[in-house]
């Protein structure tokens, strides 16, 4: 119950500030409170702080800009991946700030998120949407070109239970990849099932959330990690 209240506080604060989406640390926090695994991360305000946290987290790390004016971070150079060590970090940090200022001079930068760079594995996408007809719904898709080109995604209306989640996963044409092909170990299906169930309850419990992206979720043989999270609030959602 406490976690639920904390999530609602984050959402209400954003709505009061007139925002239509959450900042990345906020959406990460809501995911964490709903038991969705996200990378270890910290909010930092300057390069020295970044260096300290970088050592604490362990390299490689990722930097992400935090700004209410920027929803699509990578479009404005607001994400730097694969920072291998402290030297690289000290170069990357000012570069990130400069890039964002160049692309979007009006964006107010509230800080930088430094997080653990997760190792690559099979990528999937998990989404949440509030449908005008059926209410809170969950999406699952295979990542990359499966989503972009083949639109290999499927939906379920919340609440989603374990049986629903398994059916949803197996409904995708690309789900064979998760079972392990070309000598790769199978992905942790149970952990994916948990994420789908968690997103279902997250969407059901927070009416102000209209859309949610966990894109990608990296699926490992043991566990999963939602490396990017986006939460859109109902306020400016013209479709609903």
């Amino acid at each position: 119950m406490f976690a639920l209240k904390e999530c609602e506080n984050i959402i209400q604060k954003a709505l009061q500030e007139g925002r239509s989406s959450l900042l990345i640390p906020e959406s990460q926090q809501i995911c964490k409170l709903h038991h969705i695994p996200t990378p270890v991360s910290h909010v930092v305000q300057n390069v020295d702080e970044a260096a300290t946290k970088g050592k604490e987290i362990g390299f490689p790390v990722v930097l992400k800009i935090i700004s209410p004016q920027i929803l699509h971070k990578s479009d404005v150079g607001g994400v730097i991946l694969g920072i291998a060590d402290e030297t690289a970090l000290k170069k990357a940090y000012p570069k990130l700030i400069t890039e964002v200022n160049t692309h979007n001079p009006n964006a107010k930068v509230l800080g930088v998120l430094i997080e653990k760079m997760m190792s690559p594995s099979t990528e999937v996408i998990v989404g949440g949407i509030r449908d005008s007809q059926f209410g809170p719904s969950v999406m699952f898709g295979m990542g990359g070109i499966f989503t972009e080109v083949y639109k290999d995604v499927a939906f379920r209306v919340a609440p989603v239970d374990k049986i629903d989640a398994l059916n949803l996963i197996h409904e995708l044409r690309g789900s064979k990849i998760l079972e392990g092909i070309r000598g790769q170990p199978p992905a942790d299906i149970n952990a994916l099932v948990d994420v789908l169930i968690d997103v279902s309850s997250l969407m059901s419990q927070h009416n102000a959330i209209s859309q949610l992206d966990l894109n990608p979720v990296i699926a490992y043989p043991d566990g999963v990690c939602a490396v990017d999270t986006r939460i859109v609030l109902a306020k400016n959602d013209g479709g609903e």
Partner: protein
């Protein structure tokens, strides 16, 4: 909420019953008078003394005794005052046939909302307006205003059919009659001022005459309630839905990736699948699936399909269709193989698809169907019988029906051809063996059986889990 008075009324009034044979009110009134309907029926017409020899009443309030059902077929502006009369009379159910309401917007929409207000808090339930109403062959309720020589009425059968569109519903009923397909109830819901698909699903869930519910809908007014009603119904019987307007792109803000991928068709598809509803993509599929689901037993845990055919080509195409849908062919047991080898000519190879070859007669079918359907490795039987050869007589229908009954396993037929074939298709239909003109449609129908079986398995698993979780 009780919808029984729509389907089992003891007393019916027809408002707008007219002496002019072309008037809707006249046709509807005549339907009741001419049929085996056992209750009392009253014509309501302030300008007539009698209609078809029965005393006419100026208003429903003048009818002596209780009124269960009132059918209203007068111009839209007159309808609200008749609804008032129905409420004060204590009428339980009304079907408003008249059009000219929400569908025309403006004044019509105002008339419709006035009706909605009038029935609030009353016990009157309304189907329509802008619909063709109810057809129930069990209780001989027939509010269809289309004369019987134009729209033939199907016989009683196990399939209920709900249609949002009246014209589509009428055409399907006429076609169903020509195919010997039986209907348990038909309801055209029109503008749904009161009774909608949710209410009807809830009602049909418990209807003993209905084994499968089919729906044609364009918009579902109460999404989540609909899914709940479908889930409730699916515990007892399958629900097949043809949803019109699926390809319309969703108008949704796309601030997220998920939002851009979530067209209304995708969400509907997911919602239906999650609830266990079987989605039909075409009119053919709606009744192809419904006939298999309503007529045939469910497969057990064994779901592999055995194909028995007298045409090699159709057998091969069917096998392709089966693998294309991710279904399995059967591996015949040694007993079956032995029996087939002993009884088939040397040039017939005993494996699935089982080609009985072109000179197969009814006896060969009888033997093969018996052997194959009693094989534990066979879950479902697809019988292909091409009737163009002179070796096969019409008693092949008996051979198939008997094998179907004896095995208790689902059996569907694929056959295509002219008048002789069509005659046998109808005989099969009467025996509740669904027949399809192409391997693709036959295998899709088989797939719908497997889909519903999986839905049942999910329901069973959930029940077991909840029993484990609550000590």
């Amino acid at each position: 909420m009780d919808l029984e008075p729509f389907f089992k009324p003891k007393t019916v009034a027809v408002v707008g019953a007219s002496r002019k044979p072309r008037k809707f009110g006249h046709v509807i009134f005549k339907n009741f008078v001419d049929s085996e309907f056992e209750g009392a029926v009253y014509p309501i017409n302030p300008e007539a003394e009698t209609i078809l020899g029965l005393k006419a009443y100026p208003s429903v309030v003048d009818v002596p005794g209780e009124l269960d059902l009132t059918v209203i077929a007068v111009p839209a502006p007159k309808v609200p005052s008749i609804v008032d009369d129905c409420v004060s009379k204590g009428v339980k159910a009304a079907v408003i046939i008249s059009g000219g309401f929400k569908e025309i917007g403006g004044e019509g929409a105002k008339l419709e909302s006035s009706i909605k207000e009038k029935i609030e808090g009353s016990s009157l339930r309304i189907i329509g307006p802008n619909c063709i109403g109810v057809y129930d062959p069990v209780n001989h309720v027939d509010t269809l205003f289309l004369p019987k020589y134009r729209l033939r009425r199907p016989k009683q059968g196990p399939i209920a059919f709900i249609s949002q569109s009246g014209a589509f519903g009428a055409a399907v009923l006429d076609w169903a009659t020509s195919q010997e397909i039986g209907i348990s109830k038909f309801i055209s819901i029109g503008n749904k001022v009161d009774v909608d698909e949710v209410d009807l699903l809830n009602y049909l869930a418990d209807d003993p005459h209905t084994k499968c519910v089919t729906l044609y809908v364009e918009g579902i007014s109460r999404g989540r309630a609909f899914l709940d009603a479908a889930k409730k119904t699916l515990k007892n019987k399958p629900v097949v839905v043809l949803k019109g307007g699926m390809t319309k792109a969703g108008a949704r803000a796309t601030m997220s990736h998920t939002g851009s991928l979530a067209g209304s068709a995708q969400i509907y598809e997911g919602a239906f699948k999650g609830a266990g509803i079987i989605a039909a993509q075409t009119v053919d599929e709606l009744f192809d699936y419904a006939r298999a689901l309503a007529y045939q037993p469910m497969p057990g845990s064994q779901k592999n399909v055995a194909i028995v055919t007298n045409g090699g080509g159709f057998g091969v195409i069917s096998a392709d269709e089966i693998s294309r849908r991710g279904l399995g062919l059967a591996e015949f047991s040694s007993n079956t193989l032995e029996r087939l080898r002993a009884n088939l000519p040397d040039y017939a190879i005993p494996h699935d698809p089982l080609d009985l070859v072109g000179d197969a007669d009814v006896e060969r079918y009888r033997m093969a169907l018996d052997a194959v359907s009693s094989d534990p490795n066979v879950g479902i039987i697809l019988v292909i019988v091409l009737l163009q050869t002179s070796f096969i007589e019409s008693d092949v229908v008996d051979a198939i029906s008997e094998a179907s009954l004896a095995s208790g396993k689902p059996m569907v037929v694929c056959t295509i051809g002219g008048d002789f074939t069509q005659m046998l298709v109808k005989m099969l239909e009467e025996d509740h063996i669904p027949a399809y003109p192409t391997p693709g449609r036959a295998v899709s129908a088989i797939n719908s059986l497997i889909q519903y079986r999986k839905v049942q398995e999910d329901i069973e698993r959930r029940t077991q889990q909840s029993q484990v979780n609550s000590p």
